[in-house]
Subunit: 367 residues, 4 copies
């Protein structure tokens, strides 16, 4: 029986997704579910896992399955975390506080979005492992202020998203003239900076207007070095797909990288993350941790990504399905289920330790 | 005309499947038809055969097609057997006795499940070739008792399933809160040991609870050696997918192996069995027989599996379709049809002897 | 404008197929349209052409496109012929006489089936190029008699089908309890020999009963040599898929071979003919003509098969669509259209001569 | 926000296509949307882009994206142009004048069809970059006259289509008995020469009749040399798919080539243009510009084609969707959107200059 702490885990991620879609406000659902352009990369992320199958071993003692892992000084009960998702009160009044509580309850990593709709200090109150995601705004003073607040609130790493010099062309948001409603706006950054995100842009996307106005499209490697010097926290770069960039990130002092195409929300037509992972992991060669997101919908997907080079796997949409469906309990349910599915997959694959997972156990179809 | 013993074989496996589904109790049907997780591996097993085509030879005398084979001392009229399926009275009151009768009538191998809903001695009364499948329970005394009974009842080999340290996450059973109803429970093991299998687990699977409570998840190669020493019967290991495990099985004294992913019911995401077969067969290199199951739905599939390294091919769901549709006569119909289809395929492929089948006659598409 | 002799060719093969299906008796339609087993090979024959694309040349003078070809002493206006199809009065009262008239009108090859529903002499009256297809029956006297009649009626080659030691398991015919109705029975062989083909076999196929009773499943290469010695006509072997068999056919004195899987009607699971063609053509290496059938539905398919090694391409179902839709005029329409499509394809590919077609002009996708 | 000149670009190409189909006369829509034969190549052109994904770089300064390009002496704001499409008043009363205005407004290239339904001089009045496409008619005097007029009207290059010795078999036009209605006929060539294009050919295509009567199917490389000598304008060859032809084109004095299969409207079964591009570009090796069309529906497709060897990418159907939906403003909308999507894709791919795009950034799936 899939269970955690004696509680049966009846619902799987599909169940949570269905429930979430039935309760979410349609435009908020579209903002969560959609990708950029024709959503080719969104689909490719998921499809890539269908081409990677596992060759199990047998007669290995799997009475104990060990999934704890340490990443950038953060100890986790499983190689699993919540990818940063902005404005989470779009889907539940408790927003990021509930998501953090779910992560804490399951020993997984909470990466709070810079644009949290709950104050960072409240997110920290959940007590689990927490990192803070940041975009580099044109106004560097804001950035340094947030770093200070993050340190004070016990966030133990910074995740700088580097794949968003401009916002992807998210068609659903344009069609919905989507803007962040008052109840879900950022509670951490001055209202003036955030203003455009809340004003519907007729025929356009308020979020894109906001990004155009505030993000720095001229961001370079030297800016990262500048930030790393000023931060007492390790800096992880999110959005790496090219092995050469992975190399450069390590050279520039990154404490880790996240292989990500932003869930198919930035460049439609970008490579599926699972297709990009092996070469990036080979380039990093263990010098820093490699995190991964994109298309993970089952515990065995975590096993596959681990085997192909990921140290920790992040999920973005699934915990929000849990959040929408049931607040903190829903997030806990989703993350518990993924943990339990991973443990079961490791047991059935005859690999009770994370270190047992390597590329040789995966069979990849040509794609 | 496809016929056996002068009787026309009108119905094919699809016909039996349709009839079976129409008469089966829905939850019992789901227990039979379903796989683990998103049923990716279940689908992949069948799809793998679509990528393997046969290059026939012509002008070979096929007036006689020879399909007899000997495996672990058991002589069969065809390289075909019934994979172990538990609790067969779920689908017909005659249960395993009818299935064994069908196997006996067709000269094929009956592998009775440890969890038969008919006593082993009644199964034996059908008189055909019979092996007994076993899981290794935590309580080894039960195991040794079953071995003794199996020998006494004329079972000529033991098949130890090694891919089930825990039960796969079979979503259909969870959704149905499926438990084994009284009329189909095990008739061979003490009721206390079997109790959990019969008690619905709200939001979970009774079978998973049963497995968690009774199977040994710490099973190792040394346990197999222990069993082989205590059994007067050859021990075949079922659930091998990795060539290194196949090697080790031979070294550990296995009398044979079964390439199997448990019909897609254990690790969803596991490699399709036909994809795993060639490397496993190469590792075994003829030292012991290689049996195979997974996705076989046509006689030509048996030919293909034979050509890629299988000595005997097992079918799990198809004979149960026959059982549900018509008891022993239905099982006989399904197995007769597969035998007849195999003979026809061998004739049309210009390979009238099993030894004519080798990898060179198969063209595999990239997958 | 696609035209022949000044007449516009409005309808394409899809149009003829639709019309044919709408007028044909359903069981006769199934006999024509169906394949063996799950019809995997039937579908694969057609699908194989989707994976082969053409790289055209430009600025070649294509004001004249030359498609004449000579095969086994028979001169054709195009490398196109009618594959043997039995019992053609199933689809039109004029049967094979109309089909032969269509072939004659278009300068293409008529291969009459041994089991024609019109007397060979009437078929010959159409006046075009004609070969006769034969199965080798257990009663060799019948065979020799037919050879004598064929020679007398001006058939200029024999096509011996070698892929039918038994009949494929054609499920549609079994489901329909199909037998040849009186109006479509053979008009060339004594009624006693043909009797079983006309008697419905409850739960089986009358044609399979007929084949079991009359064909020789022990046919060998030495029988072919025996026939070649007794026939004044060149003997072409139909049903070759393996390069080694192609080699042996040439050694045994075959005047040509036909790469064919019997339109997917014999071994379901057999290789698609286009996938088999290149290796067979390489083995033959020009020593005898290579004919081809299977999945050809467009003129460009003829071009592709030619480029991959076929000298002449046969179509089976398409001319019968024409026959059912409109008798001799329909057959003429189908064959004219295929000729016109081939000429147009050659012009647009910048290959105005058949000898311009070689494997280098084809790009094959992995399959 | 996707925008141009401060105006938001709300609609994407799918929106324009839907609107265009809803307002177009059905037979005119079919003439635009359809391809030859079974439309395999039409579909393959689009599908080929799904198998080519982009590996983005990060932390590159993309505050300025540079897309200007010079091709055959013509400076463009983006590597984008309108492929020649005949008879554009079929879809809007302003026809080619509107299309040219849209191209001029967006700094992209207008290639006017020889068979424009608006006089070349009016097209020229739009004032943007303009080339003239030509077929070589049997009557060379017409050709020389058009060249003279083109030069006088400020067209700066000639594009000679070389893939149309005959017209492809466009089934939709045949089914519609399509002919060019009076309001959309050529306004540049004498009515006698154009007559057949306007007369419905029962059961055939008026356009095919017109091509058969007027085009020279005997066109050769020497004719091209003859034209190049007589023209003061650079001559670009459109319809090259074979690397050997590309080589020969350069040797024959072509100022550029267009990799094209005529939008799937000529040889159905021809290679997808994206599959043909890399080898052609390698053969040209930078000696002359390589233009490209076929299947481009998104800005990222332009990026991909550039990376695989195209200098300038043409779109045929999309600007006509804009034309039908909204005249010049619609064309401007479509081209602006493609430009904006390209710039966004370049920014998100971390390649702000066209010269940053090379094959190494593309991952191709096997196909």
């Amino acid at each position: 029986v899939l269970s955690k702490g004696g509680e049966t885990l009846t619902e799987d991620l599909d169940d949570y997704r269905s429930r979430a879609q039935s309760v979410a406000e349609p435009a908020a659902w579209d903002y969560l579910a959609g990708g950029a352009g024709a959503e080719r990369t969104l689909a490719a992320n998921v499809a890539a896992f269908r081409g990677a199958t596992v060759v199990p071993r047998v007669l290995v003692d799997v009475s104990a399955v060990e999934t704890t892992v340490e990443v950038c000084g953060t100890r986790l009960a499983a190689p699993l975390g919540v990818a940063p998702v902005a404005y989470q009160r779009l889907w539940h009044p408790d927003g990021e506080a509930a998501t953090a509580a779910g992560a804490a309850a399951t020993g997984t990593l909470m990466i709070a979005s810079m644009f949290s709709s709950v104050r960072y200090e409240q997110i920290a109150a959940a007590g689990g492992s927490r990192w803070l995601q940041l975009y580099v705004l044109r106004d560097r003073a804001i950035l340094l202020d947030l770093v200070t607040r993050a340190e004070a609130a016990g966030f133990t790493a910074l995740v700088v998203t580097v794949d968003t010099p401009r916002l992807g062309d998210r068609r659903r948001d344009v069609r919905n003239s989507f803007a962040i409603p008052p109840h879900a706006q950022s509670q951490n950054i001055d209202p003036a900076t955030m203003a455009l995100a809340g004003i519907p842009a007729p025929g356009g996307s308020a979020l894109a207007s906001h990004v155009d106005a505030t993000y720095d499209p001229g961001l370079r490697w030297s800016d990262l070095e500048w930030l790393a010097e000023r931060s007492g926290l390790p800096v992880v770069l999110k959005g790496i797909l090219d092995p050469a960039d992975a190399n450069r990130a390590v050279d520039a002092g990154a404490a880790g990288i996240v292989v990500s195409n932003h869930g198919g929300r930035q460049l439609d037509g970008a490579i599926a993350t699972l297709d990009a992972l092996p070469a990036v992991a080979a380039a990093v060669a263990g010098r820093v941790p490699v995190l991964f997101d994109g298309g993970v919908r089952h515990g065995v997907d975590i096993l596959v990504a681990r085997a192909l080079g990921a140290d920790v796997v992040l999920v973005g949409r699934p915990p929000i399905w849990g959040l929408a469906a049931g607040g903190a309990a829903g997030v806990t349910g989703v993350l518990s289920r993924l943990r339990a599915e991973l443990e079961l997959a490791m047991a059935l694959a005859g690999r009770p330790r994370l270190t047992d997972l390597d590329p040789a156990i995966i069979r990849r179809a040509p794609r």
